[in-house]
Amino acid sequence: MHHQQRLPSPEVFESLTKDSNLVASAPFLPIHLRSLKPVPQNWFSALPSIHFHSNNLFHRYAFGDSKQNQGLISGHFGYSLRNHLPVKPLILNAAKTTLRFAFPAFIISCIVGLVLGLVSTYLRFPVLPMFLISIIPSYVLGAFVFLAFDWGGSTLPPTVENGNIVEMIKAYSLPILTLVLVHSSLFSAHIHFWMQGETRHDYYRTALAKGLRPLHALFVHALRAILPLILTFFLHRFPLILSGTVVVEVMFGVPGFGRLAWVAVSENDQPIVLGCMLMASVLAWITVFLNGLFQSNPRNAL
């Protein structure tokens, strides 16, 4: 509710900040503006100022243009154009909400995908149905989940923050189910495909010929051989826990990271959009770096 509060425009802020008494007596202003002191008038303040950025919005965003906005280079993400609130806490809160359901969904998907992939390889199921489920878009899968489990709006809206764990699971069950369907089908299809490839190798056939049980040969030897592939694949998909949940959040009304970016784009709120983009990219850079680190070992190289 606090975030939705309408605050005065930057012009009004500027007129207010000229008078320090007025600033001190303005309790509705954000803290960073309440503590402002008026700029001392020196002889050089009469000179015309030269701006290299020539009113370039992105330069201002990156390097700042005032004491209040010191730019991205100083770790300041700027202010939302819609409600003039600082962008960083808005994005961090939204990311926290997203991680609350996307991270458990990713972990569940990894486990379910691994188990399904192994079992389907052992039972020699065809791999095509899993691939087909994995390429069905999340908005179609989410729509069918929504219509199957929320007919009449019986589930709680996914906005529970401080409730107990049961309420949270109930509230986030549909987004988690959709994400698990999307991710686990993809994971299991790939694991199944790679395992099938391993079963054609000579070492696997030799192990079977020597009398090793197929279950043991598959789950211990073949799985160990494709482990670098699996870990690389999981690392590739990891950044999607933040940036790949836009559709699911919009569909189920989760006030998370993707929905914040979507709303910001609809309202042309560029600082929030750029902040979201930067945060998602940083997560992707970290995983690319970790992937490179992992593959720098010759045993793990693909």
């Binding site: 020539s54 095509l128 691939f131 069905i136 836009v246 784009v265």
Partner: protein, 311 residues
Amino acid sequence: MKTSRFIAWGWIFILGLGLLLSMILDLQNGKIPMLEGQLAPGSAEAVLGTDHLGRNLALGLLSGIPALIRLVIPSLVLSLALSLISALILARNIRPKLPVLSFILLLFLLSMLGYALSWIRIFPLPLIALALGLGLLLLWLPLPGYRLRLPLPYLIQILMLAVLSIPGLLLLFSINPSSYGTLIALIGGTSWVATAQFSQRKMENYFNSTEFQNAHILGLPWHRILTVHLLPKLFILLTPQLAWLVSGFIVLEGSLGYLGIGLPAEHWGWGQMLRLGLQHPDLWWTWLFPGLCIAATTSSIFVVLKGKPGS
């Protein structure tokens, strides 16, 4: 497997017929005639019912086919062109010669001028140009007449890393293109890396083969080696890779339509229809048919391009 391929080819044939029909009925750019009944179920006048504006849903589904093709095929061509060029540069280690000082000065001055005049609105570009320019200047300043070999493979590898770390959907959001050209450039420009890496490996195998060495020794020109010998072989190997790429483009088009962002105003696709349909979950015909169309199209394209199960 044969049954699934037969069904997939059947759906693609239906899509082709739908495209022809949409061209005959002039349904491009989302021009669908309005009927009187809004949100009406199927009838003789509108076989699949009508949406909230009284538009015929069957005609809406037909108009989604040219919209999809208009976006997917140019993006695919651009993505393939970028990936093949990058793969060739990486596989052959192509480093074109450039005059050192003119290159540095041109790059630096153009980027700074563009930034100061607000033509370039991406802030790190002048910094990259400055760093690159200063680095090259320090390395080659003692030899101003030396012709630098531009480290193109290295730059492409850096670009690949950068593209891999860009979240595609968020990039489309943040730029929010209003024309097909920009949208196609963005989709094609962010989806070429996986194909390029795959093509690079296959090209390296080909350039190390005796077939290529024989052709080279016999004096076959480069364009003939590339167009007659390399590309046909490469395209056969690339087909399963394209299954993911094309399906991904169809999903992306639907995602943008579903979210109502990033598509030109005249674009009317199945994603938009699904979004509007889900506002009335009780009226099943408004959301079921677009959802089925998207799922069937992605699956069919995937099955047809993926080919044999082991490929």
